[in-house]
Structure formats: structure tokens, C-alpha cells
């Protein structure tokens, strides 16, 4: 009934949604969507590196994204430029450098569209192993740093004063962001990964009154988006990334009705 590639894509997508759900909540809470974008754009450089030296794509994307995050932290300390300017600088220059490098790699045929917007045909069995073991590892680490990360998201000084070491949690979270981008780039594409992080979480915010609920709804929203998106991608022959994101947008719009209802109830 299904072609083999579709099952693979589905399993990969569901694995990604399980991870982007909780991580996306922190991206929304901590206002990190542009930070996510920057890491994702720099991923192109990681991909070109992988092709040039025949490395694993996820691994080289992870390394380059972590490096960009480190450079960002250093620039924030050393310059007086505002955070969003630095993010824009890094995002677009790393994207540009990546595209220039691709121009030089004439001996390899690139599917640029696939890189930017995701390609369900590209998911191999190896990718599934990377997504599910990598994803499990990311979730495990997130669970370990949950308390300090969440507390410092609410209030940094409270977390610091009561001995939770928020700086360490923040640094680890940055690495987790790089990791989630690395495992989802093939599927969602580097221009749309941030959407996968933010839109289900934003949808969940509309219908939750506690952080735990928001995480759970965000995961459910992500899973639904993957299933709906991939089926329509198969049906209409569209790229997988945009289809998944469009599906999550529909869920977000539906969640707005819930807000309207609860406002009505209050009045």
C-alpha cells in the first residue's frame, strides 16, 4: 500500500516531532526563534562540508551549528551590537558562504530545493537510526536539565540564588538546539526547521494553562502535523518541509478558536 520511502519518512518525521515538541516550547518561552533560524541557516555550511569531506550530514551540521552558537556567544560578549543584529549577521553570512561553497563544488550535483525545504525521498534507514537515537539522547538530556532550564526561563536570579546553575543549563540547551537541527535538516529543510519548533509550541500555548500541558500538546501537534503533512506531500507531490509546516499552521489556526471560546467564557 505504501512505498517503502514513505514509511521511512513517516517514522523519521514522528521521531523529529517528539523532540521538537518540548524543545520548541523552550524556544517560544525563551524567545529564541531567531536564534534557531541562525543555527538552521548555518546548517547549509555543515551540509556542504559533509559533501566535501564525505562526512555524515547530521554530524557535520551539528558541529557547524554548535560552532556558530559559540561564535555568537563570543560576539555578544565582545561587541556592543544588539543580539538581533548579530543573529542576522551570522544567519545570512553563513547561508551566503554555504551557497558560495556549493558553487565551487561543481563535481557534486546538489538538490538545493531538497536542502532548503526537505525531501522525504532522501531519508535512509541510517537516517532513521540517527534521528531516533539522537532524538532519544536529546530528550534524555533535556529531562536532566529541565529544572534549572525551566526555573531560569521563569526567572534567572531565582534559579541562580537557589543554586540551580542556570548558565550550565543554558549552554547545554544551545547544544541541544544544534542537535535537533542536525537530525531534522533532511526531512524539514533548513529554511523551515524553526517553523517545526515554533508553530506546534505556539499552537499548544493557545490551549494550555500549565507548562506540562503545553509540552504535551506541542508534541501532539507536531506528530499530527507530520502525519497530515507527509500524506498531503505524497498526494500533491509537494516538498515535505512546507507540507508539514502548512499542516501545523492549520492546527495553529484551529487553536485560535479555543482562545476565542475561553475569552467568551470569561466575559
Amino acid at each position: 500500500m505504501f512505498d517503502d520511502f514513505f514509511i521511512r519518512a513517516l517514522i523519521a518525521g514522528l521521531g523529529i516531532a517528539l523532540v521538537t515538541g518540548p524543545l520548541g516550547c523552550f524556544v517560544v518561552w525563551r524567545r529564541l526563534s531567531y536564534f534557531g533560524d541562525t543555527l538552521a541557516h548555518s546548517a547549509l555550511l555543515g551540509v556542504t562540508l559533509a559533501y566535501s569531506f564525505e562526512l555524515n550530514i547530521a554530524l557535520s551540521v551539528f558541529i557547524i551549528s554548535s560552532l556558530i552558537a559559540l561564535i555568537l556567544i563570543q560576539l555578544q560578549k565582545k561587541t556592543n551590537l544588539p543580539g538581533d543584529a548579530l543573529l542576522g549577521l551570522l544567519a545570512h553570512s553563513s547561508l551566503a558562504v554555504g551557497l558560495v561553497v556549493i558553487g565551487f563544488l561543481t563535481f557534486i550535483r546538489f538538490d538545493i530545493m531538497g536542502l532548503l525545504f526537505g525531501d522525504i525521498l532522501a531519508v535512509t534507514t541510517d537516517d532513521l537510526i540517527i534521528i531516533w537515537t539522537g532524538g532519544a539522547l536529546i530528550l534524555l538530556v533535556l529531562k536532566l536539565i529541565w529544572k534549572p532550564l525551566f526555573a531560569s526561563t521563569v526567572n534567572y536570579e531565582l534559579a541562580e540564588a537557589e543554586g540551580l546553575n542556570p548558565d550550565r543549563a543554558k549552554a547545554i540547551f544551545t547544544i541541544l538546539m544544534a542537535a535537533v537541527i542536525a537530525i531534522s535538516i533532511k526531512m524539514v529543510g533548513l529554511l523551515l526547521i524553526t517553523g517545526m519548533l515554533i508553530i506546534p509550541a505556539a499552537m499548544a500555548r493557545n490551549i494550555s494553562d500549565s507548562p506540562q500541558k503545553m509540552v504535551i500538546f506541542s508534541i501532539i501537534g507536531g506528530l499530527l502535523s507530520v502525519v497530515l503533512g507527509l500524506y498531503s506531500s505524497l498526494e500533491f507531490n509537494t516538498s515535505s518541509g512546507p507540507s508539514i509546516i502548512a499542516a501545523s499552521l492549520i492546527l495553529f489556526i484551529l487553536s485560535l478558536f479555543k482562545i476565542k471560546q475561553s475569552i467568551k467564557l470569561k466575559n
Binding site: 517560544v28 518561552w29 524567545r31 529544572k147 525551566f150 526555573a151 526561563t153 521563569v154 526567572n155 536570579e157 531565582l158 534559579a159 541562580e160 540564588a161 537557589e162 543554586g163 540551580l164 500555548r205 494550555s208 494553562d209 500549565s210 507548562p211 506540562q212 500541558k213 503545553m214
Partner: protein
């Protein structure tokens, strides 16, 4: 009992500089178990900064801080919470430590806000939120409580009740309290040690000692000095209408 064992936090000549400007310098003080140390001083005198030095929030400080406990409860003066977070009072109580439900209920009852347990934090009034902050700090049964203007925005009767609660907590939990307050009246009845700040320690000692201090008088005025001494006196003697002292 040696003083070493009962010391919770000790500042040795501590100071903090931001953008080449000293926020506070040369502060030495010790908070011991079961004792209340109060910081007083005008606006911008470095009270909150001193508290943050004691808590270890400020890292690059002059002098040194010795902290002998990790069980700390903190009520900050200013707290900005981002409302992109769906957060109920209940979730907030569990913020830095997993506390049993009974302990949460007990603390919220003590501060008079148990009915708000499942309310969203963003919907509370200033005074209600302040009570939740205090409840959160005491519910984890800390060894050291740092309270920075803990009753701001609380109604007058509530203010007195909360100060009584703070005193009671210091007795029952035998925890040390570092208190910042501008309200000389209410604070002085309970305080063991007063540190008067004005960018540096201008004087310190028992409320009585501080009240007599000339620097304190110039900082706060003669009126304030009388407030302190009245509280110190009131239990062992009364004043006759001519101002002479009558023994009880």
C-alpha cells in the same frame, strides 16, 4: 555552640562594581541560624546588591563570600516574569525544588493565598503575587531566607501579619534571615542585627546601637532614630509624661 557552625553566609569586605561604578563596597556581615539581619538604607544605597552578593548572583565581586548552605529561599525585590509561559501558582511553587503537596498547601495557607493555588500567575494582583513569592521561598524549608522588600504592595494588616510570620519562621525553622526593608517601624521589633548601608556600611549593630549612631541620624533624621529606640525600650520600662524613665 561555636559561631562557625551556626554561620550560614558571611561577607568579608565584599563589594560589586558595574560599569566602573561601585554599587556597594566594603560590606562585612554574617547571617547565623535563627537570627534576623536587616539591611536598611536610602534608595540606591546597595541593599539589593548586597543581598545578591550574599546569594552568589553577582560573580565578579571584590572581597569574598563564604556560603555554608545550599538550602536558600529568595524573594527578590523586582521580578519580571514572561507571560509567554503558562504558569499557575502551583507550578511556580515547584520552580526550583520538588516539594510535597502538603508543604505547598501549608505555605500558601500561612501567607493567606491558598485559594489562588490553581490560578494563573499572570492574573494575580501585586500583593497576592508578593504573598505567593514568600510562600514559595518558605515552602522549601530553607536554612537561609533572603527577603528583599518582601511585603511591597501588601495591604497594611497583611504587612504586619507577614512580618510576624517571618519572625515565626525564623524561630520554628531556625533559619537565618537576611531582610531588606524600608519600614523601620515594623522591622525593628524582630531584628537581631541591623546593617545601615549607604554605598558602604555606615553603621551596624543592634537596633539600639544603630539608633544612637550619628551617621544613622544624619541619613534618616532624628525622627527615625526615635522609632528605633522606642522599639528597643518598650518592654522593660515606660516613659512618664515628663520624659523620665519609670521602671516597670
Amino acid at each position: 555552640m561555636s559561631s562557625e557552625n551556626s554561620t550560614l553566609v558571611k561577607l568579608n569586605n565584599a563589594g560589586f562594581k558595574q560599569n566602573d561604578k561601585w554599587l556597594v563596597e566594603g560590606v562585612s556581615l554574617t547571617v547565623e541560624k535563627g537570627k534576623i539581619v536587616t539591611l536598611i538604607g536610602p534608595n540606591g544605597s546597595g541593599k539589593s546588591t548586597t543581598a545578591k552578593i550574599a546569594l552568589g548572583i553577582y560573580k565578579n565581586i571584590e572581597g569574598s563570600v563564604e556560603k555554608y548552605t545550599n538550602k536558600v529561599g529568595y524573594v527578590p525585590q523586582k521580578i519580571s516574569i514572561d507571560w509567554t509561559l503558562p504558569l499557575r501558582v502551583y507550578d511556580f511553587m515547584l520552580l526550583t525544588e520538588n516539594i510535597k503537596d502538603e508543604a505547598i498547601d501549608e505555605a500558601l495557607t500561612l501567607t493567606g493565598v491558598i485559594h489562588l493555588k490553581n490560578k494563573n500567575l499572570g492574573n494575580l494582583s501585586g500583593g497576592e503575587f508578593q504573598r505567593v513569592l514568600i510562600a514559595r521561598a518558605i515552602s522549601k524549608k530553607p536554612e537561609l531566607l533572603v527577603l528583599d522588600e518582601p511585603v511591597q504592595g501588601v495591604d497594611y494588616t497583611g504587612e504586619i501579619a507577614l512580618y510576624e510570620l517571618i519572625k515565626r519562621i525564623s524561630d520554628t525553622l531556625n533559619c537565618g534571615i537576611l531582610l531588606i526593608s524600608h519600614d523601620l517601624h515594623t522591622v525593628m521589633t524582630a531584628t537581631d542585627h541591623v546593617v545601615c548601608l549607604n554605598g558602604h556600611v555606615c553603621c551596624s549593630g543592634s537596633p539600639m546601637d544603630v539608633a544612637k549612631n550619628n551617621e544613622y541620624k544624619t541619613l534618616f533624621g532624628e525622627q527615625a532614630s526615635q522609632i528605633l529606640s522606642v522599639y528597643e525600650h518598650k518592654h522593660d520600662h515606660v516613659h512618664s509624661d515628663k520624659g523620665e524613665i519609670k521602671k516597670n
